[in-house]
């Protein structure tokens, strides 16, 4: 079949061309239809590709083979993530149509509604491009495509502060992307190649011999530092997360269900691909892992403390987003934790989608997110039930999938004899339960004198997320097996 030959390119080009068509429609509903059909089709060919994926699928643009031409490469590391982000966008479009209309496009000029869907698809094409390319410069171009669309998506909301947040994001994101570009230049000067597989083999041949040219090693270390700082700044990981607070807390929460769930996943993917393919593992892995581990410890302590201290429920969720990144770094710095890392990423991302969707149902009715002056929710029994379940699943209390993962993390840390880390993770888990308690108190037990609101929006999305939570909980062992299989194929 001839389709399978072009799957790598099609997965990027379908959202890209759908975005162009959306711009040309000048009609809100038509562009929604185009976007939904395109993403559903993309999801289908993604699933088709993973069953055809015995060996990595390699695609050369214009038949120019690898070190010269641009290569797209699908393997077990990126194809599951591609399927997952297609699924998230499909969820966002299908179940969130009413919320998109009520909380985002209401603040856009009537004639420009179709542009929103077009930007969404451009950002999506950029993300899939970052995931599937095997060429470093192409990676930079796709990072910029996705972020240019994301800056504009952030700038829309009921609060004019969103513009300031988007501008901050533009400045910081461009600094990050430029640092990545400089790092790519260093790699190019070292190896004369831009293809990741090619760079990996050249570095392996030149740097594993006993006599290491110290001058060249310095350049390699500089390149690695530039890349890591760039990605950490771009994806708002802990020490450089300050811009994320402003950008996220002022933009519409419903757009965050898509962006917050995906951008950290992409950042972790970029660091992982970089660490396992570009850096020669034994040479650099140990110092990098020590740096990451200390960053993770500081991130876990400070973010859980700040989340507990925060008085705004939107900020609590955003701090908990950056707290999870601390856990991700901790697992990234421990070598045998790769399968656990994927489980944590997926479960956490589903949690965040649930929380932000719930928040946007509330945002539709009120702009007040302070813990003590929240309006009371009345007459919406189903919403209260679903919100309670979502907070329960997110809080990592027993009988939730997050709890199982936490237990596995404890087990792993004890096995690795990392006692300090173990104590910190236990403390932060307790903090986590406490700030979820605060969150639940603000939503369910607010006073009637602050005002009353009634949630009357379509709750199908929340029902779907709770359903997904229950499925992941029941089939946790199957997920563990699949992740174990995937991570074993990556290392081999």
């Amino acid at each position: 079949m001839s389709l399978i030959k072009h799957i790598n390119a099609l997965q990027v080009l379908i959202p890209f061309f759908a975005a162009l068509f959306c711009t040309l429609t000048f009609h809100k509903f038509t562009s929604w239809i185009i976007a939904t059909i395109a993403i559903a089709f993309n999801l289908m060919i993604g699933i088709y590709a993973i069953f055809a994926l015995q060996t990595p699928i390699i695609y050369f643009f214009g038949n120019w083979s690898a070190p010269i031409g641009i290569e797209y490469r699908l393997d077990y590391l990126n194809q599951p993530i591609i399927i997952y982000i297609n699924g998230v966008l499909l969820f966002f479009l299908v179940f969130g149509k009413q919320l998109i209309n009520k909380t985002i496009t209401r603040y856009i000029d009537n004639k420009k509604h179709h542009i929103f869907y077009s930007l969404l698809l451009f950002a999506h094409a950029g993300y899939i491009g970052v995931l599937s390319t095997n060429d470093l410069f192409n990676l930079y171009v796709f990072i910029e495509i996705s972020s240019l669309a994301t800056y504009v998506l952030f700038s829309k909301g009921n609060n004019p502060k969103a513009l300031i947040g988007a501008f901050d994001y533009l400045i910081m994101g461009t600094i990050g992307a430029t640092l990545i570009l400089i790092s790519i230049g260093f790699f190019f000067s070292l190896t004369g190649s831009l293809n990741i597989t090619d760079i990996f083999s050249i570095l392996k041949n030149n740097f594993t011999s006993t006599e290491i040219v110290s001058n060249r090693l310095n350049i390699l270390i500089t390149a690695i530092v530039f890349f890591l700082v760039g990605v950490i700044l771009k994806m708002a990981f802990f020490p450089l997360h300050f811009w994320m607070m402003r950008a996220y807390s002022s933009s519409a929460p419903f757009i965050l269900t898509y962006i917050a769930a995906i951008s950290s996943l992409i950042g972790v993917y970029m660091i992982m691909r970089f660490m396992y393919f570009t850096i020669e593992a034994e040479l650099i892995y140990i110092p990098v892992s020590i740096i990451l581990r200390y960053m993770a410890i500081i991130a876990i302590i400070s973010c859980s403390y700040l989340a507990l201290k925060s008085q705004d429920i939107k900020r609590i969720i955003i701090y908990s987003t950056s707290l999870q990144i601390g856990y991700v770094f901790l697992l990234l710095s421990i070598y045998p934790a790769k399968s656990l890392l994927f489980q944590l990423l997926i479960i956490d991302s589903i949690n965040k989608i649930g929380l932000f969707t719930m928040l946007s149902h509330i945002e539709n009715k009120t702009n007040e997110f302070h813990v003590n002056s929240m309006k009371q929710i009345q007459d919406s029994f189903l919403f209260k039930c679903l919100a309670a379940l979502i907070i329960l699943f997110s809080s990592s209390l027993p009988i939730t999938s997050m709890f199982i993962i936490k237990i596995k993390i404890f087990d792993l840390l004890i096995q690795q004899k990392l006692i300090l880390e173990l104590i910190i993770v236990i403390i932060s888990s307790i903090f986590g339960i406490l700030y979820h308690l605060k969150f639940a108190k603000a939503i369910f037990f607010s006073k009637a004198e602050n005002g009353i609101m009634k949630i009357d929006t379509n709750l199908l999305g929340l029902i779907f997320i709770v359903f997904i939570h229950i499925i992941t909980l029941i089939y946790m062992n199957v997920i563990t097996e699949i992740m174990g299989y995937i991570s074993s194929t990556i290392t081999s």
Binding site: L148, Y151, P160, A166, F167, T174, I182, G185
Partner: protein, 120 residues
């Protein structure tokens, strides 16, 4: 002395970063962004140049017996893309500044922070 160009590239990079992080006016921040991005152009193009290299044009009959060495054309091509990316980033930034001006009637960061405080 042949590496002095990289020193200048770093100088331009630091200047751009300084302008971006210290200025109060949003337009100046965007100008700083432009300076910051052009340092990368300098860095890449310097990478492609060899001291005795000529333009990469096919002037020899046989490549193995060619007396000349050539500069690499690839960094120039890459920078063409980077210029376009920088241009589009700058346009989005200017559009955002225009929207900020319409919303707040000022583009000074300190004024906007003051206004935000009074609103809250």
């Amino acid at each position: 002395m042949q590496n002095i160009i990289y020193f200048f590239a770093v100088l331009v990079l630091a200047t751009g970063l300084f302008i971006m992080l210290t200025s109060d006016n949003y337009l100046r921040k965007i100008i700083g962004l432009g300076v910051f991005q052009s340092s990368v152009l300098l860095f890449y193009i310097a990478l492609g140049k060899m001291s005795a290299g000529i333009l990469p044009i096919d002037i020899c009959a046989k490549l193995t017996e060619c007396p000349y060495s050539f500069s690499s054309p690839l960094p120039h091509v890459l920078m063409l893309t980077a210029i376009v990316v920088g241009f589009s980033t700058m346009s989005v930034g200017l559009a955002l500044i225009y929207q900020i001006y319409k919303e707040y009637n000022t583009i000074l960061e300190s004024d906007i922070n003051k206004k935000e405080d009074t609103i809250i």
